[in-house]
């Protein structure tokens, strides 16, 4: 049983990401130049992403992973996010006087883990991917060692995260007990009415629900997001979330067991998550924390599309493609917007992340017109206004929900997006319609650093591109053989 060369190429992106991570740590003593390290890490992120080009579609390592358009899409997504986050971290690390090599290496390791998550077709492989990305995340969250908040964030994330991982692992064990296999395809063929299988899948859902911050497993999110270094928060909000959603979608669409059951589970999760996120965000005065709650809300919107996917199986005549496409398109648009928004928050925050409250954003429209305009674009996208990626994302989720006759869910989502309007709008109002009280403190940023500005420009262009000309991306996410079935 030796893996073929094709198999090795199927994990080439992960190999490259890990390789560059290791190289970064080795190079650190010799390469004192921070910019050089940043560039090297970016090359690594890009090379891993581009390596997907060589992979052949199909199942690899005897069914452990599945390399298909679906995993390709997520590889691109997490690779792009890593690339942008590394670029955005450059000025942050300089400002906070933190070592960069380990930081970048950890980001690349986490990305490799996310890549594994996206293509895993076997639960233990998925577990390895999950752990790779989680453990790197725990360290990254506490990377600003001197700050109490950062340490708190790391400890909280670690403790609760391990707990969730235990749930996931226990779920795998039960599923194995029920089906005699950890391979998704083989699990799918076991008796769906088995209670053991159901229980196992429920535990898996809890574990993954934690990672995507679905209510009621979301309590860690605001604290961890707020405490972590802001570029890391950008990574958390985009990468691991998208990758975990990828795995979640793959598990629950491959294993058809007890569809009704999952339908209601996702329905309730979606509604709870939307409301918890939006209502929580309403009362925040710290922009970073507000965006953390908004991530929870957006996980809820994504879960609405999930619910639509689960109903597709009930009716084999309706193609599930649009509902899948909704999830994928939504995650792409959302991730880029979140990276852009957190980058701005990181830059405005200044040294020690001291300026992140709404008051610090007052008058930004006149002080930093570019940052304010970009932030407005991102917020409008999160709000789902037209000509932004967020609008089409919301539109496709709505459409998927209504396609599946989930009118009530769509209406609840409507109510939520209206609640969302209030707090997103408040930031815009503060930036443009209030004057900054008193003098601008000395430590506050006077403008975006060039690297951060690049990230913001890329994210903004992508937001508008996805909002105006979504055809190309839609072509990918709507492709017929999005998920290759190994059967």
């Amino acid at each position: 049983m030796t893996p073929s060369a094709a198999d090795l190429i199927r994990v080439l992106p992960e190999t490259i990401w890990c390789g560059f991570g290791v190289l970064l740590m080795l190079l650190q003593p010799f390469l004192k130049n921070r910019q050089g390290l940043t560039l090297f890490a970016m090359v690594g992120a890009a090379a891993g992403t581009l390596a997907t080009y060589f992979g052949h579609m199909g199942s690899g390592f005897f069914g452990l992973i599945q390399f298909d358009t679906y995993s390709l899409f997520f590889h691109w997504l997490v690779g792009l996010v890593a690339f942008l986050v590394i670029l955005a971290s450059d000025s942050y690390l300089e400002r906070e006087n933190l070592a960069s090599a380990e930081f970048y290496a950890l980001i690349l390791f986490a990305t490799a883990g996310m890549g594994v998550l996206a293509s895993a077709q076997e639960l233990l492989t998925a577990f390895i991917g999950l752990e790779m990305s989680s453990i790197s995340s725990y360290v990254l969250a506490g990377y600003r060692r001197d700050a109490v908040k950062s340490s708190e964030s790391a400890v909280k994330y670690f403790l609760l995260g391990s707990f969730a991982t235990a749930f996931f692992l226990y779920g795998i064990a039960l599923v194995y007990g029920a089906s005699g296999s950890t391979n998704l395809v083989q699990i799918a063929s076991t008796d769906p009415s088995s209670n053991l299988l159901r229980l196992g899948l429920t535990l898996i859902l809890v574990g993954l629900g934690f990672k995507v911050a679905a209510a009621p497993f979301q309590v860690w999110t605001p604290d961890v997001y707020e405490g972590a270094p802001t570029p890391v928060t950008a990574l958390f909000a985009a990468g691991p979330k998208a990758a975990t959603f990828a795995l979640l979608l793959r598990i629950f669409t491959t294993i058809h067991a007890a569809t009704d059951f999952w339908f209601w589970a996702f329905w309730i999760l979606a509604v709870a998550t939307m409301f918890v996120g939006n209502l929580g965000a309403l009362v925040q005065t710290n922009v970073k924390r507000m965006l953390a709650y908004s991530s929870i809300a957006h996980a809820g919107y994504t879960l609405v599309a999930f619910t639509a996917v689960t109903t597709m199986k009930l009716d084999p005549n309706t193609g599930a493609a649009p509902a899948y496409a909704a999830v994928l398109f939504y995650l792409l648009g959302y991730s880029l917007v979140k990276v852009g928004a957190f980058t701005i928050v990181s830059e405005i925050g200044g040294k020690g992340e001291s300026y992140q409250t709404l008051d610090d954003f007052a008058g930004l429209g006149t002080r930093q017109p570019f940052a304010a305009a970009a932030m407005t674009l991102f917020l409008l996208s999160l709000l789902g206004m037209p000509i932004t990626a967020g609008f089409f994302g919301k539109f496709y989720v709505f459409k998927a929900a209504i396609n599946s006759k989930l009118i009530w869910l769509a209406v609840l989502m409507t109510i939520n997006s209206t609640i969302g309007a209030y707090y997103y709008l408040r930031v815009i109002v503060v930036m443009y319609m209030r004057e900054h009280k008193g003098d601008v403190p000395a430590g506050a940023a006077t403008g975006l650093s060039p690297t951060a500005a690049m990230v913001v420009v890329v994210a903004a262009l992508a937001t508008v591109y996805l909002g105006l000309l979504p055809n190309h991306v839609l072509g990918i996410v709507l492709s017929q053989n999005l998920i290759l079935s190994a059967r």
Partner: protein
């Protein structure tokens, strides 16, 4: 004639190009910013006048259609078209925009460049709403328009501007979110976002919409439009938005934005959901009448001049909604006419009130009195506009209200008689306010030295006055062009249900639906 094929797109995006050009100017370059915006908006107005020549009188259906596929899945097409109704609304928009530039010549002092960019972007959104024939494209413009308007109120408004801007945004957003659900549901049923195609599908004999579904769909659209109109009891955003908005914002808000709601009812609610419209009509009419009377009564007791004008809009728009939901040719023509007339006379009123604010920085009626002495010309224009707003014969306000009442009377005399009280009340609140502001002694010393209108203001007002008079005397010019599309809309609300009424015992028809038809038939089978 290559360009004429794209006239509508040019109309939509020309102001956007103007806005881009503005962005290239320096923000200190106040002189050129104002002039460039004015030139762009006047050019846009002249461009829109071409529509008057191109859109044939008496022709049904859409002219100058543009069709281009945009998004492949789901099929969304960039589909535009114009008919007699939307033509006039577009011209109203392009007419009021240069007026707004004039009105803010002195009232806007900070962030002048951004102000004019927002104004032009607002124009893009509004014209797009009136010309879109694809539900998705319509929705897009509908939402896009919100942002510049909220900014106009929030940045350049008065005291409680932020509260007003957020309230305006959230009210409209709540409505439009439901509309999005409705649009998608409709797409799910018909497989297209294209308005004419949806209409064909809904009307085809093979297609049956359950009454409950139709009602929910109707409501999802109607609520969004009713918020915009605003129909009582959804009107509470309007006084705040109006009072806090800068003059230009109020002019556009009252002049055009409110009409987007009534336009939506004519264009979407009635033709797409005739059954539900008929079932909802009595309730809508009652709400409209409450709005007419309530708006007028509240206007009567307003100590704030601008709020008074704002509440008068609630009252006048109530007439429009009443005219639409009587399904009568005359009253619907009247409704369309009233939309235009109200745009002109309320636009002029806000323009006038704004001038007073530029001079004294207050809207309180008690702060004024005896203004006819220092400002005789201003007082004359104000009287003229107030008379047109209250519906004096020969001026524009009269024609619309008269036609609406005439048509309504033939359908339901009770509605007409209640609504008619609104006409009397409007005379009360406007004349009383006029008396308090202009007659008597000059009660405040600072009012003695007020300057009368200058040349810029005078020319703006002369244009308003000429149009008011022309609309009053030459109303057939408008009604002739509006008649065919209005007839068509009424035809749409009848056709399918007339068919069903003929064969009420059709087996596929649910019994409940058949009974509703029979119960409701008196109001429906009104001849034109």
């Amino acid at each position: 004639m290559e360009l004429s094929g794209h006239l509508l797109s040019i109309l939509i995006f020309f102001p956007a190009i103007g806005a881009l050009a503005l962005l290239c100017l320096k923000s200190e370059d106040e002189y050129w910013i104002r002039r460039l915006t004015f030139v762009v908006s006047v050019a846009e107005f002249l461009l829109s006048l071409i529509l008057l020549r191109v859109v044939a009188i008496g022709a049904q259906g859409y002219a100058l259609t543009e069709y281009k596929s945009w998004i492949s899945s789901p099929p969304i097409n960039y589909h535009l078209g114009v008919d007699g109704i939307s033509m006039f609304l577009v011209i109203l928009t392009t007419f009021l925009t240069p007026i707004c530039v004039l009105a803010s010549w002195k009232g806007v002092h900070h962030r002048i460049k951004e102000f004019h960019v927002m104004l032009l972007l607002l124009e893009v959104g509004i014209i797009g709403v009136f010309l879109a024939l694809d539900l998705f494209v319509f929705f897009l413009f509908w939402e896009v328009m919100l942002i510049p308007m909220a900014f106009l109120i929030g940045i350049w408004g008065h005291g409680r501007r932020i509260y007003a801007a957020v309230k305006f945004f959230i009210y409209t957003m709540a409505g439009s979110a439901f509309m999005l659900v409705g649009i998608l549901w409709l797409y799910n049923l018909t497989g297209t976002f294209d308005l004419p195609a949806i209409q064909l599908t809904l009307q085809s004999a093979a297609f049956h919409l359950a009454p409950r579904t139709e009602m929910l769909l109707f409501l999802s659209f109607f609520i969004a439009f009713a918020i915009k109109v605003p129909l009582f009891p959804l009107h509470t955003w309007l006084p705040d938005a109006h009072v806090e908005a800068p003059t230009a914002g109020s002019i556009i808000l009252a002049g055009v934005l409110l009409k987007m709601g009534t336009y939506g009812m004519i264009r979407f609610c009635l033709p797409l959901f005739p059954e539900a419209s008929h079932r909802a009509a009595p309730y809508v009419a009652v709400l409209a009448i409450i709005g007419i009377i309530y708006g007028a009564l509240v206007a009567l007791v307003q100590p704030n001049l601008k709020k008074l004008v704002a509440y008068s809009s609630v009252s006048h728009l109530g007439f429009v909604v009443l005219g639409i939901f009587t399904f009568h040719t005359i009253s619907m023509q009247g409704a369309v006419y009233q939309m235009l007339a109200h745009g002109i006379s309320t636009g002029a009123l806000f323009f006038l009130v704004g001038m007073l604010y530029d001079r004294r920085h207050t809207f309180e009626i008690s702060e004024y009195g005896g203004l006819v002495k220092p400002m005789p010309q201003y007082a004359a224009f104000f009287l003229f506009v107030a008379l047109s707003s209250m519906g004096l014969p020969m001026l524009n306000g009269f024609v619309g209200e008269y036609l609406i009442l005439l048509g309504t009377y033939q359908v339901h005399w009770g509605w007409a008689s209640w609504a008619a009280t609104g006409v009397i009340l409007s005379a009360c609140y406007l004349l009383w306010a006029y008396q308090r502001v202009f007659f008597g002694d000059v009660t405040h010393d600072e009012n003695r030295g007020l300057s009368d209108i200058d040349a810029r203001e005078k020319w703006g007002l002369v244009v308003f006055a000429v149009i008011t008079l022309w609309m009053g005397l030459g109303s057939p010019y408008f009604t002739r062009r509006v008649a065919a599309p209005v007839d068509w809309v009424i035809e749409q609300t009848k056709s399918k249900y007339a068919e069903e009424a003929v064969k009420p015992a059709a087996p596929s028809q649910p019994a409940a639906l058949a009974t509703t038809i029979q119960q409701d038939s008196p109001t429906r089978t009104v001849s034109r």
